[in-house]
Amino acid sequence: MSAGLALDFTVNGKRRRVRVPPMKRLLDVLREDCGLTGTKEGCGEGECGACTVLMDGVPVNSCLVPAVQAAGVKIVTVEGLAKGPALSVLQRAFVERGGTQCGSCTPGILVTAHALLQRAKGRVPGDAEVREALAGNLCRCTGYQMIVNAVRAAARETQASARKRAARAAKPGARAKVKSARTKAKPAKTKVKTRTKAPRGRKQAGR
């Protein structure tokens, strides 16, 4: 059984080495060899999305990925979404807004939604955009609306706290979006201001 390929990859920020048959499904490598059972199997053929994980930031159905393809890749599973004991903003939104019922699709949906919010870079995706992003993740319990609501609420909350941070860091009135502040043609002034206020702002945010 131990005959196989020595596979190095990163899972949820930790480097791992496992020895597995090269065609073993990534899903099984994660569940059996890495002990990460949060990722679920729903159909085994890439239709339901319950087994969704991120490979270098891109959501994939891990039931369709042979282990050999994961060599050197950074993988994120549902277990890697929270930093520390507190739930992530997205996870908390799912609990508070009815985004999870039986929980079988939840890990895959969270991973897909997480990737969507990363891509959106602080923008709040519209209802249709969230639905399209989640179209490869089946849920039989919720009717999807509360899932969509939770994803958008998490995006709004993240955006609001980013704005608050930016506002605290900048002078009132200079509530420029983080992105535009960075790319402005005349950044010098802003930068100076940011620098002078930044330490205090950051501390407060940290508390």
Partner: protein, 773 residues
């Protein structure tokens, strides 16, 4: 902030007058575990020395097993093999009757029937062994449809293939029809539907050193499994232990089937002496587990000129599959809901469940009611069209009100909300205005197309809106709750926290969260102080199955009583009132120190006003009904036959929303399952086998198919339920199909009398061609 860790005692320590716990959407108890991947489902468990089981199944629908061959070229070392001769007790899955064998002996009665079990430490070897078994079967003529079964040319059950028949009668049917100004007839069909819980069925069986059995797995009804295992293994109840693991959805699909797979896992464990995991993949789960009963329903109604119902005659035939299993109960509920939430003095309802050589059909959310409610609601829309009445007005004219009688003679006394849910749905959606607007726009589009002016992309689109009214009896039918005699308990944990002891399964719906709320409210503490024991037959009493929209109303009611009793005991002990969580815990700990353990138990007692006669099928079929109405808006592509649901607006009276968010979640999720059943979900058969047993071709709605939902929770309290609560789990499933049919008819003028309304069926109807099967 919700912590990722399980909440322990905190915060509420200072609360003197706790916030109300009921009617508030507190964080779902199992939420944090489910969003972090920490929730442990059966397939996530491993035991030392564990084997992996596989099932050899029949490929034919009916036949006699002649010989089973094991390929001599295959390496059989380490493979455990079990067949029917290895069953220590009876070869049956005990339920209502005992006709279903755990493993086929000689006769095959349906395709994918389990014949032989295999297990190996390596799942891949177990899988390979499957291919090395050859079952030689002599094929016999099989009965594969309701029509074939009724014709009884081939007899597979008794003389007429009928498992069960119910007849409900009231008034004088002939006189009713004689007095009717208009008589309308219709025939309505619906097919199988797969529950499609995202977590497949799975169990782990173990043989204990003491000669007992432990089974863990995904299930709704631990005591059903417990009961069935006693018979299979000939063991006394105390030697069998059944533990529910986190369950990834059920919808009825984990009501009776878990007894089968538990028996298989336990049998392999019994024979091998090692833990055996038996977890189905999706293909096996769809192919071999239960489905919603297909139905063929004839409805004939008589009306006076203004639409008033004067006679209702309904004939229901359901396909039970190869064994009786739950069919009589499904049929009973179907029959009891078949007249719809309408007042009618002269009614006849005949309902039969027939045998076919297909896998047994079982429980699926609604349990027979969605089929008959779909039929009567489709029919009411047809009646409205034939009489030239607004479907809303027709329903308002006939909807039951307080004091009306159902076909079984039950007088509807309390919490009767048919008119209210209709009114509120119509108002919310802007029924009359929207109906007219769609009609205007459709007419304009047709004129434009005739003039050669097409919409962008050349698509010929029409929009329509349809309405349905439904009801759902909460808890078991008739005398069912008396027979169940459910028990629930509350006990004090060592740290002085109340702990819910019930067999009710959390399957995603929020049962355990709702329990903590109801108990907390009566104890005057915060819900997160309340613990909930895992359903484990060694620990919890038999509070009945997690089915029939009964958990909140019946088991919740018992727990509310337990909480009252517990509080009384502690207050008597303390000789004062208890104020808040910290105080509760203080008193509870003192009680534990001085008096020892405390447990308060309550059993179901039939309210004296419920009278039911199983022989005449007359009386109070249910303690009460929940009521709901839905308006579905659709857009139909006349050229492709595709239907897009634009919006679903629904008002549902559930008595009291203990947890409004969870209730809304039940309604939205149930509605989408109903929409899927109406439009997408079709089980396709070939020679008695399901050929679309994959998520690739058994299509359930995605986030792109799901419409936005507008849900109105109506709270018309039922005095017999805890805090006024009635059932909510199944009603949402009953409503959408009839409304979809009506909306499509409104959009296109084509009335389709078979669901799902696939593009093919709709195009045939649009062409005016005769529907062929």
């Amino acid at each position: 902030m919700i912590r990722a860790s399980t909440p322990r005692t905190r915060r509420h320590k200072t609360t003197l007058r706790p916030e109300p716990a009921v009617g508030v959407s507190v964080p779902k108890r199992d939420g944090a575990d489910k969003v972090t991947g920490r929730a442990i489902y059966v397939d996530d468990l491993k035991f030392p020395g564990m084997l992996h089981g596989r099932t050899v199944r029949s490929t034919v629908a009916r036949g006699i097993i002649r010989r089973i061959e094991f390929d001599p070229a295959f390496d059989w070392s380490g493979v455990v093999i079990a067949d029917y001769k290895d069953i220590p007790g009876e070869n049956c899955v005990a339920h209502l009757t005992e006709d279903q064998p755990l493993l086929a002996g000689r006769e095959i009665e349906h395709a994918d029937q389990a014949i032989l079990l295999l297990a190996h430490a390596d799942p891949e070897r177990a899988e390979a062994a499957l291919g090395a078994v050859r079952v030689d079967v002599e094929s016999l003529d099989a009965v594969l449809s309701i029509e074939d079964s009724l014709a009884a040319r081939v007899k597979v059950h008794g003389e007429d293939n009928v498992f069960k028949e119910y007849n409900i009668a009231r008034g004088d049917l002939a006189a009713g029809f004689a007095a009717a100004a208009v008589v309308v007839e219709g025939v309505y069909r619906c097919g199988h539907q797969e529950q499609l819980y995202l977590e497949n069925n799975g169990m782990i069986g173990e043989r204990t050193a003491a000669g007992g059995i432990v089974v863990r797995g995904s299930m709704q009804c631990p005591y059903f499994v417990h009961h069935a295992l006693q018979r299979m293994f000939g063991l006394p109840p105390e030697k069998i232990r059944v533990i529910q693991t986190v369950t990834g959805g059920g919808f009825g699909g984990k009501e009776d089937y878990p007894s089968v797979i538990a028996g298989h896992a336990a049998l392999l464990a019994w024979k091998s002496g090692r833990p055996v995991k038996l977890v189905y993949d999706r293909l096996e789960d769809i192919a071999s587990t239960t489905k919603r009963h297909p139905a063929l329903i004839r409805v004939r109604t008589g009306h006076s000129r203004d639409g008033t119902l004067v006679a209702t005659d309904v004939d229901v035939v359901m396909d039970g599959g190869a064994y009786v299993t739950l069919s009589p109960r499904v049929l009973s509920r179907g029959a009891l809901h078949a007249g719809g939430a309408y007042r009618c003095p002269n009614v006849r309802i005949r309902a039969r469940a027939v045998a076919t050589n297909t896998p047994p059909n079982g429980a699926f959310r609604g349990f027979g009611a969605p089929q008959t409610v779909y039929a009567i609601e489709s029919h009411m829309d047809r009646v409205a069209a034939e009489l030239g009445l607004d479907p809303l007005d027709l329903r308002l004219r006939n909807a039951v009100v307080r004091g009306d009688q159902t076909p079984t003679g039950q007088i509807l006394r309390e919490s009767v909300s048919a008119v209210e849910v209709l009114d509120r749905t119509a108002k919310r959606v802007g029924w009359t205005e929207k109906r007219r607007r769609f009609e205007r726009e459709n007419a304009a589009a047709e004129r434009a197309e005739r003039a050669g002016r097409f919409a962008p992309g050349g698509r010929r689109l029409r929009r329509g809106i349809g309405l349905a009214l439904g009801w759902h009896g909460a808890s078991f039918t008739g005398s069912g709750e008396v027979r169940l005699a459910s028990v629930a308990a509350l006990e004090l944990s060592p740290e002085g926290r109340p702990r819910v002891m019930a067999a009710s399964a959390e399957i995603g719906q929020g049962a355990i969260t709702v329990f903590t709320q109801m108990v907390a409210e009566r104890l005057g503490v915060a819900p997160d102080l309340v613990l909930v024991e895992t359903p484990d037959t060694d620990r919890v009493p038999d509070s009945g199955p997690t089915v029939a929209s009964r958990t909140t109303m019946v088991v919740g009611g018992l727990l509310e009583d337990c909480a009252r009793g517990l509080r009384e005991r502690l207050e008597l002990f303390a000789e004062r009132a208890i104020e808040g969580g910290a105080d509760f815990q203080r008193v509870a700990r003192r009680f534990l120190d001085q008096r020892g353990p405390l447990r308060v138990e309550r059993g179901y007692r039939k309210p004296p006003w419920i009278e039911w006669n199983d022989d005449t099928y007359q009386g109070d079929a249910y303690p009460c009904f929940s009521y709901g109405a839905i308006a579905v808006e659709v857009e139909v592509d006349l050229d492709t036959g595709e239907v897009r649901v634009l919006k679903a607006t629904t008002a549902q009276d559930i008595g009291k929303a203990i947890h409004p968010l969870l209730c809304t979640g039940q309604i939205e999720g149930g509605t989408l399952q109903g929409l899927g059943w109406a439009l997408l979900e079709e089980v396709r058969w070939k020679d008695g086998r399901i050929w679309n047993h994959q998520l690739t071709n058994y299509i359930i709605p995605t986030s792109m198919d799901a419409p936005p939902f507008d849900v109105v929770l109506v709270e018309n309290p039922f005095p017999g339920g805890p805090f006024g609560a009635k059932g909510v789990g199944e009603l949402p499933m009953d409503l959408p199909a009839g409304a979809v049919v009506a909306a499509i008819a409104h959009a296109t003028g084509a009335r389709v009398d078979e669901i799902p309304i696939t593009p093919e069926r709709l195009l045939r109807a649009l062409d005016g061609r005769e529907e062929t099967r």
